[in-house]
Symmetry: C2
Subunit: 185 residues, 2 copies
DNA sequence: GTCTATATGTTGATAGAC
DNA sequence: GTCTATCAACATATAGAC
């Protein structure tokens, strides 16, 4: 028996996965409890409300993203960092084609409700944009703000279409196109 | 009293608007009935299920899109058609920043459920992609399939970020960037 | 800390009067 | 065709035993 219970962690992991696959609204607390193998009533010992679980999921997603872009910055060549980021996306293309980008699909869903969660969601994608802008600035590309936004818009649009069309192949092709564009800047 | 009731039409109009603003799952039949000023129980005279309403909304959205791209094709210059399309998007930037693209936000939401609706959603964005591909083909641009996909991905990514960040200004800027890119092809 | 049982509220859907 | 009343199912949340 662990010194501290791992139930909370299990619940968050289950919620992350289920929210990605089904969306926030369609995911019930019973779903989460069941996937985490925790009795339903016990959920409320760890979280006051369903929204609080989502808040924690959002925070973890943000940290995942920060870890990912941190891993992409292993050296000081900003364009190589962006390329490594594209490579990571390609590796995820099957899951993205099935369930969409875990960050932006949740953002769009939460944006349609009036709740503190809605504003929280904004932060995750902003992290991504800020990082891209910084890479372009370091690379000496003209108008780094606009170019960074453009880069993330292209990446997100590609994932959106891949999800809607359930097509990982075209996602990979399109990411290659974005990589080629990077080389011309 | 009209020869045929306009209640069904009112219900669809209300559903279209509410689903765009709140999403499909958060929109209740009571919401729809209330906005259409139709008693709740009466809804089931016109539609068997909630999903059936959504099906009709999807169909109308598709027709709206076909009408829009039809209007953009007033002459035979394919690049001018694409530019007119971008202009239409700019005119919608405030609403997009608030509620997202009415087509793709619904597609992404429906993609996360297992229902015939999920596959129906795919068709709407495919209409858009097919049109763009056709314009690039007519314009003699190399690899029109890839370029058409790229064009819609950029447009959709731009709207996704505009929605998440609630920022119509950056949406307009980014659409201009896409227009400039069009000129270089 | 953990769990069962259940309260409470909402929603999709139906029955049946008019 | 229109509407009121209501059902049945489900989801969030709580009470309280252990």
């Amino acid at each position: 028996m662990p010194r501290t219970s791992d139930k909370r962690e299990k619940l968050v992991t289950a919620a992350k996965s289920l929210i990605h696959r089904q969306g926030f609204h369609r995911t019930t607390l019973a779903d989460i409890a069941s996937e985490a193998k925790v009795p339903l009533g016990n959920v409320y010992y760890y979280f006051k409300t369903k929204e609080e679980i989502c808040e924690v999921v959002l925070e973890e997603r943000k940290q995942d993203l920060q870890r990912l872009i941190g891993d992409c910055c292993r050296n000081s060549n900003p364009k190589a960092n962006l390329k490594r980021f594209l490579r990571c996306l390609m590796d995820d293309s099957n899951q993205v084609a099935e369930c969409g980008c875990p960050h932006s699909t949740l953002c769009q869903e939460l944006r349609k409700i009036s709740s503190p969660l809605s504003d929280r969601a904004e932060g995750t994608l902003q992290v991504l944009i800020d990082w891209a802008v910084e890479q372009f600035r370091k690379a000496g590309v003209p108008r780094p703000k606009s170019t960074g936004f453009e880069f993330i818009a292209r990446v997100q649009g590609t994932m959106l279409l891949a999800h809607t069309l359930h097509d990982p192949r075209r996602m990979k092709q399109q990411i290659k196109v974005i990589g080629t564009w990077l080389d011309t800047l």
